[in-house]
């Protein structure tokens, strides 16, 4: 997905801030919920290709109709590491 723009600024780095190599790990992600994703649509196929052995079929139905911008987007989305 395209980068989202945020207009409000990031805070100034406090004078006394310390972190190894400018990074500081603090907490942990909350536990996740197991859910089913729907096995439908081109983006799911990209997911399935990474997880299972689904072969890559070089055909993108969306690209045929969609505008140039969308074409690029979906082709990128079809690349293996988008999500």
């Amino acid at each position: 997905m395209a980068a989202v723009q945020f207009s409000l600024p990031l805070p100034v780095l406090p004078q006394d801030w310390v972190g190894e190599k400018d990074f500081k790990a603090i907490g942990q992600l909350s536990s996740a919920t197991q859910r089913n994703i729907e096995p439908v649509g081109p983006h799911f196929l990209a997911h399935a290709r990474r997880v299972s052995k689904l072969p890559l079929i070089n055909r993108n139905i969306f690209a045929a109709t969609n505008s140039d911008l969308q074409q690029k987007r979906h082709q990128r989305t079809f690349s293996e590491d988008d999500r």
């Binding site: 997905m1 980068a3 989202v4 723009q5 945020f6 207009s7 409000l8 600024p9 990031l10 805070p11 100034v12 780095l13 406090p14 801030w17 972190g19 190599k21 400018d22 990074f23 500081k24 790990a25 603090i26 907490g27 942990q28 992600l29 909350s30 536990s31 996740a32 919920t33 197991q34 859910r35 089913n36 994703i37 729907e38 096995p39 439908v40 649509g41 081109p42 983006h43 799911f44 997911h47 399935a48 997880v51 299972s52 052995k53 689904l54 072969p55 079929i57 055909r59 139905i61 969306f62 690209a63 045929a64 109709t65 969609n66 969308q70 987007r73 989305t77 590491d81 988008d82 999500r83």
Partner: protein, 578 residues
């Protein structure tokens, strides 16, 4: 009828279509060479083909022709059978078949007794067999249109379909020469139909799919994240659908008829069947125009009936049913543990979704920022009756070149069951109130992992050293009271709806979505950002829930990288496909 034979060795060319198979209507669709989903009209020109078959002297009628036989030949007309497929007789509700061939117990299955041959004999036709005949007719219409034999399909099914029902549907289709490549859920098909449009923008959003049909209404709340769909809640209602709206008009016209003629047309089977067909047509006309007529030749006692009704009157009479639709949608949102304010889109699907009043009520229920996708609220909305079939056609074109095994393997829970984020992940920014930080969500909750999102953040005016503080965010609903102004510009009659939930003389509540800061995950320092520069932050959550963070000045080299340890995967989400 199909030239394909089971067990053929050389794999034949696959011609796949999308099929939506409802209790009331079915639709067939294909994906054109340009990748556009198109609904196919059958020989009669219908795109919504009634799921009805009727037999007269051995001849089979299908669709609209068969439906009109509900008046003269109801006992040899089979309708509303989809939900019986793969079910036990003891578990079904036979009510929808009241005015057509009755379902009966037959061995371990359900069947209809009809005179479907030239002879006078009553034959047992199982629900599987009638489904096969129906699908054969659909496939044949599609084959005629496409000029080649259709031998495969993606078929849509409700979210509460059982494994037995899937199995039965797959076998019934196979017997009709149609290989079911995949069954996909109806709401997901509707979402896909919209997402496949050229103008669609890939965005994370919460979608309510309200599928309002003839004999049932099905709700699904769907999280759409980077084009991947997860169903958060589903609900089903068999008492609030199109037939209840037909009934409102049947009762209205029957009363009018009684007033003049002292006979109740509802008491005679054939009169009722006639009135029902006409009332449905009147109802559909009221979705388009402000007035509609209803005329039935020889309705009862040989007396013709003719009347008109305007939309306002209809909306008043059907107010209760309309209110019930609104409540179904509200409940579905609640069941997904969400608030009305969390919903970005409502997709109205199914024939009943043509009704303007239903979408108008939803416009009042949801904030103005929620898009209500229906013909009367959005000029570019897709015909709600066709959404399922279109989505199925798109999916068919996506999977038809895969081996069946590959499709099966990729739809296996090993692939589809995935951890979803419990909370949003985002970055703190400075708000107007300098003391208070503000959370900006980069990855929304209910996003399946692995996932990755990038944001571009502004820096203080002079640039310099900034801190990227990554946190979890919890959505909260802030409620404040606002004194209601005495005059609100609206005429009083506009407030007469039964489903109005505003407290007449209480203070108006203002509800808004705000973020509460959850766990702080990490901080990264980006130093020496130039004046007017931007900071690019990428957060990536791996399949094992490890988190990677990358922050750097946009266009700059290097940058800061770091990672967090894995989180736990907890219990299953409530919804699934149950």
């Amino acid at each position: 009828m199909s030239s394909q034979e089971d067990g053929e060795i050389s794999s034949p060319e696959i011609t796949a279509i999308g099929i939506s198979f409802g209790n009331s209507n079915s639709s067939i669709a294909y994906t054109s060479g340009e990748g556009k989903a198109e609904v196919i009209a059958n020989e009669e020109g219908d795109r919504q083909i009634p799921s009805v078959l009727s037999y007269i002297e051995g001849e089979e009628y299908h669709g609209t022709q068969a439906k009109s036989q509900l008046v003269r030949n109801s006992r040899n007309t089979i309708a509303y059978f989809r939900d019986y497929l793969g079910k036990d007789f003891d578990s079904i509700d036979p009510t929808p078949c009241h005015a057509s061939a009755h379902p009966q117990k037959h061995e371990s299955t359900i069947a209809f007794s009809v005179q479907d041959k030239e002879s006078e004999a009553q034959n047992i036709v199982t629900v599987s067999e009638i489904t096969t005949r129906h699908i054969r007719r659909l496939a044949s219409s599609a084959s005629d249109f496409l000029g080649k034999s259709v031998n495969a399909a993606v078929i849509t099914v409700p979210t509460n379909v059982t494994d037995e029902q899937r199995e039965a549907l797959s076998e019934a289709a196979k017997a009709a020469g149609v290989d079911v490549l995949q069954m996909i859920s109806e709401p997901t098909a509707a979402v896909l139909a919209y997402d496949a449009r050229p103008e669609a923008i890939l965005k994370d959003k919460i979608i309510v799919v309200a599928d309002l049909g003839g004999t049932r209404s099905d709700m699904a709340v769907v999280a759409s994240r980077g084009g991947v769909y997860s169903i958060l809640s589903t609900s089903h209602d068999y008492e609030t659908a199109g037939v209840q709206l037909d009934q409102v008009l049947i009762d209205h016209f029957a009363k009018e008829f009684i007033k003049k003629n002292k006979t109740d047309p509802r008491e005679n089977e054939r009169s009722l069947a006639k009135l029902k067909l006409e009332a449905e047509a009147t109802k559909k006309a009221l979705s388009l125009g402000g007035n509609a007529s209803c005329s039935v030749e020889s309705l009862a006692d040989g007396i013709d009936f003719s009347s008109t009704i305007n939309r306002t009157r209809y909306e008043l009479l059907a107010g209760k049913v309309f209110g019930a639709f609104t409540r179904l949608i509200e409940e579905a949102v609640r069941k997904a543990d969400l608030d009305i304010l969390d919903v970005d889109e409502v997709i109205l699907s199914g024939g009943t979704s043509h009704t303007p009043k239903i979408s108008q009520n939803l416009q009042r229920l949801f904030p103005p920022t929620t898009r209500i996708l229906s013909p009367s609220t959005l000029p570019t909305a897709i015909d709600p009756s066709s959404l399922s079939a279109r989505g199925a056609a798109i999916q068919a074109s996506l999977v038809q070149e895969f081996e069946k095994e590959d499709i099966e393997q990729s739809t296996h829970p090993m692939v589809t069951v995935t951890p979803h984020l419990r909370n949003a992940i985002g970055v703190m920014v400075v708000s107007e109130d300098v003391q208070k930080g503000l959370f900006s969500a980069l990855i929304e909750k209910e996003t399946a992992v692995p996932c990755r999102r990038t944001g571009l953040f502004a820096v203080p005016r002079e640039g310099g050293d900034v801190v990227v503080k990554i946190c979890e965010g919890l959505r909260d609903i802030k409620v404040s009271k606002k004194e209601k102004p005495k005059t609100n510009g609206k005429p009083a009659s506009d407030d007469s709806d039964l489903d109005s939930d505003e407290d007449e003389d209480g203070d108006e509540e203002i509800r808004e979505k705000v973020w509460k800061i959850g766990a702080v995950l990490a901080e990264a320092a980006v130093k020496g950002v130039k004046k007017g520069g931007k900071v690019e932050v990428t957060i990536k959550v791996e399949a094992d829930l490890a988190v990677q963070v990358e922050a750097r000045e946009a266009g700059g080299k290097g940058g800061v990288r770091g990672s967090l340890g894995k989180a736990r995967v907890a219990e299953n989400g409530s919804a699934g496909s149950g």
